[in-house]
Point group: C2
Chain length 244, copies 2
């Protein structure tokens, strides 16, 4: 059977949280039908933007980030297929961060009126979207802990494991590894490290036989060892056992 | 006029986002009527707890935190009057962090059925709560940037300004300063610093004539100077000009 619109990454993700009725799936399929391509490198949402739209990402990777006055950048998170872009600042007067595709992406634009409609027409879907927003927040919380309380090696290991767990959930990765378009610069700006430091840490993790990130692919050489090093507890992702 | 239930901190906070109808205010007053006291130091929600309740905080301060395997603690945020406790993990199978009162607090417990009811009976109130949840997330994002990209002095300055802006919003602070029950240990665990380092930074900020935190009170000695040092932009708090 060829994958249908009902197998879109968002649907896969939401169904791990709760069963969706035929009407809910039809709404998702309708969103999916509206998808189009957005180029890498062009901000889709920018800090200070009023009344910005919301997007559902189907293919490719994006990043949410803030720029500081001194020119440094903190990446808050990366978005992968099935994730939303802009859900959390949708109710704000202006967006509080930027969102930029890292690769060319395929996404559907949703207007705030659509979302309001979900609450009337499909409370289940509305609740599932709230769950997804809460999960996004839980990841930012974990990134705060990463940067605040984990050394560079554990922090990097934790981040690569989290991406793995998220990608497995939407069918884009396995316990062996996943394709990853992130440069060392992007990874460094997410981890609060310099690119050079990130480089050294990745080399050490590889030499220790734990994980190899090279040529656009992350390979888990010793998944259990990496989980142990990072003290990786998937509870905050709120879905079943994927990596363990 | 004595403060009525309609002047409760939550109502003050939500009304900065959108006007609330009489029916919305009546729901808030009903929640308010159910308030009771919870003692300092006893977790109200703990990591891994299934089906935990949600609380609205009326008086006192709480903290949300995670413990790491090595015994260190990262404080995610402090909650002040008008904030919710547990809103973001309410839809999770289990809570992804702990919540503990720092002082004795007054709070109302809300069960998830109540919240579901809001979406039917008062979409405005439901949207206002979503906004409050998004604002909570924006603060965690800002704390990530604090720890990842700001040096200890700017980080501390930014944190004290954020607390000031939040407290002014609910009538618990002014441009001159605010009462603050945080110990150096709590502040350190929020900032990702040691207590000794936090101490040194606070002394330096005081000697520079910017801000004094002593005897349970934060005094803005030079508010404009502090805002400039911290590069503090209130946009992420999504309410009007309070500190500027």
């Amino acid at each position: 059977m060829a994958p249908s619109d009902h197998d879109c990454p968002l649907s896969r993700k939401l169904r791990t949280h709760m069963p969706l009725a035929r009407a809910d799936l039809a709404i998702l399929a309708d969103l999916h039908a509206r998808r189009r391509t957005y180029p890498a490198g062009a901000d889709m949402i920018f800090e200070g933007q009023a009344a910005h739209p919301l997007y559902i990402l189907y293919e490719g990777w994006a990043s949410s980030y803030k720029l500081l006055a001194d020119g440094t950048r903190q990446i808050l998170d990366f978005q992968i297929p099935g994730d939303s872009l802009g859900l959390n600042s949708m109710l704000f007067q202006t967006a509080d961060h930027n969102i930029e595709p890292i690769t060319d992406i395929v996404a559907s634009e949703i207007i705030i009126g659509d979302v309001a409609g979900f609450y009337a027409s499909s409370p289940t879907l509305a609740t599932a979207l709230l769950w997804a927003a809460a999960r996004d927040q839980a990841m930012v919380v974990e990134h705060l802990i990463n940067v605040g309380r984990r050394d560079a090696q554990r922090r990097t290991a934790h981040f690569l494991l989290e991406l793995g767990a998220r990608l497995i959930l939407v069918g884009r990765g396995t316990r062996q590894g996943y394709d990853c378009p992130l440069s060392q610069y992007l990874l460094a700006d997410a981890l609060g490290l310099t690119a050079e430091h990130t480089n050294r840490v990745l080399r050490q993790l590889r030499q220790d036989g734990l994980v190899t990130f090279r040529d656009g692919r992350v390979v888990f050489d010793d998944l259990e060892g990496l989980i142990k090093l990072a003290d990786f507890d998937m509870g905050y992702l709120d879905h079943g056992v994927l990596l363990r």
